[in-house]
Symmetry: C2
Subunit: 114 residues, 2 copies
């Protein structure tokens, strides 16, 4: 998507602190972090939100999860724990219309989750 | 797992307000809801947490997501939006050691997410 902020990061047209990448996904630091570790994992292909998942492309979610796990192990988050958050739509708090998984860790996460 | 609370729900040994079910996953209402809609989606097979995902079983995450989407459409959550949360480990706020995705909706979710 030409004007999508995250597609521009995928194409390296705008800078981001990229922390990991595989064939289908890329991970970079959230510019407004809410925890000592706050990383966004996104599919390189543009999906607007979780509502765009189909039987054919939902494997991307599994791929995002595996990349997140790899990052968690690299950063040592796997020992104490972490939170995954995916917002969909306005009521969910989605701020950029390109599917993204928030990986938050490095502090005790509280409940309720917003 | 014999003594796992959520495995007992899967086996229908203890009651839960089940809202949806497919071959590999089951969804039921959280007993301490933090939003008008607060549903847990879990794999029937026991996985302790997201850290148990491997190349072989991570498709279960996609399956959980698709079941959640089906529920969101049934309940009309897809129009305004919703939040997915998965806690892993103590720092993530994981309360039951059987992988579960929280689907929260029916109100404006806030930021940060706990």
């Amino acid at each position: 998507m030409k004007d999508c902020l995250f597609c521009k990061i995928v194409r390296k047209e705008i800078p981001a602190e990229i922390v990991a990448e595989n064939t289908n996904c890329i991970a970079f630091k959230d510019i407004d972090p809410k925890a000592p570790v706050h990383i966004l994992i996104i599919p390189k292909k543009h999906l607007g939100s979780t509502l765009d998942f189909t039987d054919e492309n939902s494997w991307l979610l599994a791929d995002m999860g595996l990349l997140s796990n790899s990052i968690s192990r690299d950063l040592g988050l796997h020992e104490k724990g972490y939170r995954w958050v995916i917002n969909t739509g306005k009521a969910g708090g989605q701020a950029v219309d390109h599917l993204h998984l928030h990986l938050l860790g490095g502090r005790q996460m509280t409940w309720p989750p917003g």
